[in-house]
Symmetry: C2
Subunit: 232 residues, 2 copies
């Protein structure tokens, strides 16, 4: 198992999307640091378990990004808990956590939980609407969220989420500059080695999600691109 603070590249697989055994094998054996299982729509216990069982055949680190209380199941190496810092509704900042802990507080293994301070920045993405995110932010707003994540809340992760399109590199750069202990995750629009390499210059962790469903071959090249960057 690869410890979360050593991650540089991760693939994010959506339980609600189809993936062939061959493609899944290529993803799991790609040399990526971890697979995150997570999605926005129709994440159920059934499709989560089904995907999890297929991934578990490979020795790759596997984390569940918890989006639905009903879809939590034991056995993952980590449980990533998003807090949407720029949501306009308390349920996405703390409410879902409270509900989960009220129900499962006594049996949770807290060591496996990792908080992600999300900053959702693509207003056209499903997740922005779903989580009622205020995406009309300037770069100083984002920097302030990064500082909150690092110093005030001491989250393990700060997650710049552009979901579906690539965000401006300046935002990644500025957020990176104020983070030390908190790891910067970047997700959104990474489809090939060049995309990944550009982001890896600043983000600690590059997430490749949709890209692998669109062009697997190109998506697989992001692993090497990120690793090369980190080994320089």
């Amino acid at each position: 198992m690869k410890n979360y603070d050593e991650w540089a590249h991760v693939f994010k697989l959506d339980p609600n999307k189809e993936i062939t055994d061959e493609a899944l094998e290529a993803v799991c054996e790609s040399g990526t640091d971890a697979i995150i299982v997570g999605g926005t729509d129709n994440v159920t216990l059934d499709n989560t378990l089904s995907l999890f069982a297929r991934i578990r055949r490979f020795p790759v680190t596997c984390a569940l990004e918890v989006s639905d209380l009903e879809a939590i199941t034991p056995g993952f190496d980590y449980y990533l808990i998003p807090s949407v810092m720029n949501s306009q509704h308390v349920s996405w900042v703390i409410g879902h956590h409270h509900k989960a802990v009220k129900e499962y507080g006594e049996i949770i293994n807290w060591q496996e939980l990792l908080l992600e301070g999300y900053c959702v920045l693509n207003g056209e993405a499903r997740v922005a609407n779903h989580a009622n995110a205020q995406t009309d932010l300037d770069i100083e707003d984002v920097v302030a969220y990064a500082r909150l994540a690092e110093h005030m809340y001491r989250y393990p992760f700060f997650y710049l989420e552009y979901s579906g399109k690539k965000g401006p590199i300046d935002v990644v750069k500025r957020a990176s500059a104020v983070l030390e202990k908190t790891k910067l995750i970047y997700g959104g629009g990474i489809k090939n080695a060049a995309d990944a390499s550009e982001i890896a210059a600043y983000a600690d962790v590059v997430v490749v999600g949709n890209g692998l469903y669109e062009n697997l071959k190109e998506a697989l090249k992001t692993v090497e691109a990120v690793k090369e960057h980190k080994c320089r």
Copy 2:
């Protein structure tokens, strides 16, 4: 200066309330572990500075509980930052923090900041209305907030706020039972030694606020009552 994790008794002074020099001296020399400066209404830079300057003549630890961005001033030993965990509006959970850090992020000394996970429980109190708190909670809700504060957010403090009336001892007891590293602060309706002693059996820190404006002599006796309890 007394480190925050050694506090057992604190007095909370409201910048918007009058206190004579004699009373202030008695409070500061009472043996309490710290004075918290904070209030809900009409906290201004002027009245905060004025109270602070008077307290600083004494060698007691002094913390500012930040409620208004305009009333922040350097020189306090600690800055307590409330996050109202059961607020129904994001501004009380994270919004005010974001605004403050956007403005002052570069000059903040993060070592002096202490997060307080507030659970505001007296629906009739000004603060509940002000912070739009959902006070209709059962004991399991409160326990879940305590667990969130301890394990998920790792706040230094979890604050049971009954502001103006005494809360049920069972709530204090149950919250206390799930907290280890996070210190349990209790505030609300503590007017005399008996009140303080009862709460000190479970809370790490007993706050005496309004009581000292109502009957100073009785309020001062709470210091000894808490200390006695902790030394048993």
